[in-house]
Symmetry: C4
Subunit: 176 residues, 4 copies
């Protein structure tokens, strides 16, 4: 029974790989950073206005992410992919940087994380997201030369970022 | 007063049955699995990184579901329905399988579900979702022969899956 | 400075009254029923599988509501408004009926609401939503004769439904 | 490798500034008011039916905001911008006014905020949002003369509104 229309839809689904790559990358990047974010915030006992504003900025850029995601997916089918892949990568970079900044800020302020051991863990968690920032720099540069490769580079960064790291997730003894 | 435009819209509403079937199936499948998921997680006392990642995968595929739902609904009106019904069924299968995998993993790890009785219940709950996996196999095969019948098959699976089963829902004595 | 394009957009905003009426009606109906729903559930100490399934049905129809809302709004601009206004009213009726059914079921099952006083309050709350069901019957019948009037009838029902009623909201002494 | 299609998409991204301005303004206005709203509600010990209804109105207008946001963004590209910028400003004004009204109402009702010190803080918080109402009046008037300037005026109000103010955020001693 597989007929022409069958083949047609099937190959149409297959040709949509840029949408799948873009969707999975965005989802997985946010998922990984959500684990990091959660790891930071459950060690905080208080928040100050700076943390609140950084959190609002983070939420705003995350809520904006579907726009460059769709832009890149559309561009990978057709033209203008250099700009779209750059723009998408820059958005991911800003999101990662904001999460890292919140972690570093929290680790540096004992009034937010009073316990010394928890503060060390927050510092560790923030340190674990720093390599991603460097990787984004490399992949964004690559977007000028090979935008399709760069799109898979963002996906690779999102997968590497969730490789198990004990500290980030381990419930620290002081609470949970 | 019922005039031609009335009849027109009325029959237009009626002709949208593929959208209704697809929407109800997706909603009811997720609703049933949410009960299962909730039944598993409230018996867990701790989570580990593997559970967290399986949960992220689940969330990603659930968030993706509206896409194959719409694809199947559109295809049932017109052409290419074989591929669309297959693709939709495969997505439902992956979702069910992920929930089952989380349940089996939790039942096998005493550090996640320390209480023996609760662990037995989690094993029961996970066992109750296993038949659905077989049903999906049958209905997906049917999609090659009779895609419209298969679409109703997915609906039937979603309804069978929420037929009352005491264990899954019963608040176990150890907590709630 | 008000020029033609200004007048144009201004009158375009004005001509969108069906969208505003439909949006406000849907929002306000759900808002009012959410208060009722919350009033019922915070008096419940346990839930059973029937309540869970009724709740899933409620969630499904509420999630579906934007579709008939848009259908009615579009039809009020053009043609086919009889069918669209009927269909919209039927959806609101099913939502109201489901909330009422949950309340009646809870009031009739002491294992769900063990306290007698709380059970009386749940019965009161469910009784307060019953008139809406009759109003919907009248307005849906009116949709055959005067669909535009019926559209405002649904809005009136949604506003009447949130007129202050002490029981529904009052935190009952047994908890909160 | 930067070619014409690259320049094209890049300048297309740049030309979308009205969308970015509108999106950031809406997000930041809601973010700032959410902080105010949260500051009011965590000092309240009870809610009454009036607060509940004001909250529903607030939620309705906030849920409606994406519509005038898109309307203004589209109009800034083309024509009819006077009406769209006015309409958008009026929506922001209603949202700010509702939050302020909730704060004033709570500060005036000891049964909602029993503690005197917390009541003074709620009064302070509500007083801090009052200048925004005046600013909106000025910028909405400006929309008749220079709609593009007014669009940036709304953005300025949203930024000024989140400038650190100790009272609003400080966890008051009585609880949290």
């Amino acid at each position: 029974m597989p007929d022409t229309s069958f083949d047609h839809l099937w190959s149409a689904i297959g040709q949509q790989w840029p949408s799948y790559v873009a969707y999975v990358t965005s989802f997985w990047t946010i998922g990984g950073l959500w684990i990091v974010h959660h790891g930071i915030f459950r060690r905080m006992r208080n928040a100050d206005y700076t943390v609140l504003l950084m959190n609002l900025v983070l939420l705003m850029v995350v809520a904006f992410l579907p726009f460059p995601t769709k832009l890149m997916a559309d561009a990978l089918y057709s033209t203008g992919e250099h700009a779209a892949v750059l723009f998408y990568g820059a958005t991911l970079f800003v999101i990662s940087m904001t999460v890292t900044a919140i972690g570093r800020y929290a680790a540096a302020h004992p009034e937010l994380v009073p316990e010394g051991a928890a503060r060390d863990e927050v510092r560790d968690i923030a340190a674990q997201t720093t390599p991603s920032l460097g990787f984004y720099g490399v992949v964004i540069a690559l977007a000028f030369l090979a935008p399709k490769v760069a799109a898979f580079g963002y996906l690779a960064i999102s997968i590497i970022a969730v490789l198990p790291r004990p500290t980030r997730f381990a419930p620290h003894r002081g609470g949970g």
